[in-house]
């Protein structure tokens, strides 16, 4: 290959690489706005997750369970019987 064609090839390659670099940089830089959108979306999802955790805790709280039990008419038993020894299954005749 002649010296001239090598120089031409180098010049074309340099131009091609330069253009590619500019295109890539431009493309990547413009994706910054996409990144910003995704960051906002991540923040929103995290915020929703916290809100859902809060709802779960609120629904499982004793305060709510008590209130719900009262609504359903459940009450504390007035008296209780404790069996301290096992009852016979059947008595002999």
């Amino acid at each position: 290959m002649s010296k001239r064609s090598i120089i031409t090839a180098i010049i074309f390659a340099s131009i091609a690489l330069g253009v590619a670099n500019i295109v890539a940089s431009s493309s990547i830089a413009t994706r910054g706005s996409k990144l910003q959108e995704l960051e906002q979306q991540a923040d929103q999802l995290e915020s929703q997750a916290h809100e859902l955790e809060r709802s779960i805790a609120s629904l499982q709280s004793l305060l709510r369970i008590e209130a719900r039990a009262n609504e359903l008419g459940l009450t504390v038993p007035a008296s209780m019987i404790t069996l301290t020894s096992p009852e016979p299954v059947a008595l002999l005749p």
């Binding site: 910054g32 916290h50 809100e51 809060r54 805790a57 609120s58 499982q60 305060l63 301290t84």
Partner: protein, 578 residues
């Protein structure tokens, strides 16, 4: 002529060159640092990523304290399109501070809105601002309300605030999160104060290059570090027992007309705090609305004279020292005892000659305890009290523990031995009292009280039970337990006993010292005990300050203790033994 012109041009060029050099010197050397910082701020964004504060979990892994999203609303001046007075008027009804819980006055709320409007208008009408905060810690609903106004230049930064699913449950144990002098969140009192470093974590920083519109450049340089969230605390606290304790305490205070009250329930084998209830309490969300005196946990911060509950400490010491036995006869119990200018009498002026030590505890006999104190002697009594932890902090993992020092032993006189033997003239906290009794329930070994069982983070740190020391022998602990069982079965509070259960307990009615003398009417009624006596599942102390329906513990604190014990037997599935 030409030469003159050339000379003039030369001078001008020289002067211009010197001027440029001076200007360059100014930019590069004098203003170099600030200009570099300005350029840095235009090219780079420094974002702080807040760390989540650790949660506080009850024994059943329920979020006793967690976080909820909140927002900082701010105005960015270059993007504002609405006039600032209109913004202030629109936002004030949304961002004004919440009124105190106890207030529903529409007039007060109206005033608060007007104040908020004036503050916002003053802040936004200034000339020298680019960014201005409009409201902090706004909940999601308020954020949405602001968004609906569609005001340009108003934006939000995420924050977190504490959320309490069980409302004010265990508020005095948990503490609260407020702002420190730099405006950063900080834990105060209780667990939030004691474990602030573990809970708060460390915020992260992202450093990235941005373009002219402020958007991040992907090929730019990134840096910084990830946030490190705070660690979670798992407690020994059982929220069901805590809830029941708080309900029963509130009812008892109303029923007996007491000023305040406390309940502590402890696991005798681990020293774990199963429940700790105090009344009155505060709402940690709106702690600012309450008197500051309510913030501290009275079970560890307020000392009181324990009265007759203290007799079990002195009696078990004497049993361990082998200076008495349960059936030792008191030969000084047939009447009041004179010590110097003081006369020691019994609480009801009844005297039991030839009474046994078991009966001394049963009758809560002061003269019998003076006999025991004298048998033990000043040196040994002092030594045993120190071993039981009197005069020292319990080292519980809560922030505000205080301790009242005992008078130095060399300053103790005969009257000090006598009064200490029945729990007067000595000041302790409720936590010290229950910790000492826990040693009797735990075969003589004193345990360090603990609220937190585990610290959960990237690595989990278990906090195992910590025995402090052996205080008395197992034999002495067993003998004392039997004497306490007899006190419940046959003592003043026998009407409250629960049939079928062996409960070890002791009442205490202590007079309150006011201006150097004991007030005849004002008492602190308490009951301390454990059950089942042979294999204790819990140790419980209840304390009522200045009950008015009756000043005696047998009529107030004892029935409260038994009511709660009934529920604990049911909860733990402990059947009657007899």
């Amino acid at each position: 002529m030409i030469a003159n012109r050339l000379r003039a041009s030369l001078y001008f060029l020289c002067f211009a060159g010197v001027a440029v050099l001076f200007r360059l010197f100014y930019w590069q050397v004098i203003a170099g640092e600030s200009l570099a910082a300005l350029a840095e701020s235009q090219h780079n964004a420094l974002l702080e990523i807040p760390a989540s504060r650790g949660k506080i979990l009850s024994r059943d892994n329920f979020d006793l304290v967690s976080n909820q999203p909140a927002f900082l609303a701010y105005a960015y001046r270059p993007h504002l399109t609405t006039d600032v007075y209109s913004i202030a008027k629109l936002l004030a009804p949304i961002v004004h501070p919440d009124p105190p819980e106890t207030t529903t006055s529409a007039q007060l709320i109206e005033t608060m809105i007007k104040d908020a409007e004036a503050t916002l208008a003053a802040r936004l009408s200034g000339e020298r601002w680019i960014w201005a905060p409009l409201g902090r810690k706004l909940l999601l609903q308020k954020k949405q309300a602001i968004e609906q106004l569609q005001l340009k230049g108003i934006d939000f930064e995420p924050e977190q605030i504490r959320y309490y699913p069980e409302a004010s449950m265990a508020a005095n144990l948990v503490g609260f999160v407020g702002d420190n002098s730099n405006g950063n969140p900080q834990g105060y009192f209780g667990l939030e104060g004691y474990y602030d470093l573990e809970l708060k974590g460390r915020p992260g920083i992202i450093r990235q290059q941005k373009d002219a519109t402020g958007k991040p450049i992907l090929v730019g340089t990134f840096g910084g570090y990830e946030p490190k969230n705070g660690r979670n605390l798992k407690l020994h606290l059982d929220r069901s027992i805590q809830r029941v304790s708080e309900i029963e305490l509130a009812k008892a205070i109303e029923r007996y007309g007491a000023k305040s009250g406390e309940i502590i329930i402890m696991d005798p084998r681990t020293g774990g705090i199963i429940a700790l209830a105090t009344e009155p309490k505060y709402n940690p969300v709106k702690y600012q609305d309450y008197d500051r005196s309510l913030y501290k946990n009275s079970t560890i911060a307020d000392a009181y004279e324990p009265g007759s509950t203290f007799k079990v400490i002195v009696m078990s010491s004497a049993l361990d020292a082998d200076v008495i036995k349960p059936d030792t006869i008191c030969d000084a119990c047939d009447g009041p005892i004179e010590i110097g200018k003081f006369t020691i009498s019994t609480w009801n002026n009844k005297y039991y000659p030839d009474t046994t030590m078991t009966e001394v505890i049963q009758h809560s006999d002061n003269t019998g305890m003076v006999f025991v104190g004298n048998k033990l002697g000043k040196e040994k009594l002092y030594e045993y009290l120190q071993k039981f932890g009197i005069g020292s902090p319990t080292n519980i993992d809560l922030q505000e523990e205080t301790v009242t020092q005992m008078k130095p032993q060399k300053k103790w006189g005969d009257i000090d031995v006598a009064t200490a033997s029945f729990g007067q003239g000595i000041a302790i906290t409720a936590m010290q009292m229950i910790t000492a009794v826990t040693a009797i329930a735990n075969d003589g070994i004193l345990m360090q009280p603990r609220v937190v069982e585990k610290i959960i983070g990237e690595t989990t740190v278990a906090l195992p039970p910590k025995p402090v020391r052996r205080v008395i022998s197992k034999k002495a602990a067993d003998e004392m337990t039997e004497m306490m069982v007899n006190a419940v079965q046959s003592g003043e509070a026998q009407w409250t006993k629960i049939p079928g259960y062996r409960i070890a307990g002791k009442t205490g009615t202590a007079q309150i010292a006011v201006a150097g003398h004991y007030d005849a009417e004002k008492t602190i009624a308490s009951f301390v005990g454990f059950a089942p006596a042979d294999d204790p599942k819990f140790v419980m102390l209840v304390k009522l300050r200045e009950p008015t329906s009756s000043q005696w513990a047998a009529d107030t604190a004892a029935p409260l203790w038994m009511r709660l014990a009934r529920q604990l037997f049911l909860y733990y599935g402990i059947p009657p033994q007899e």
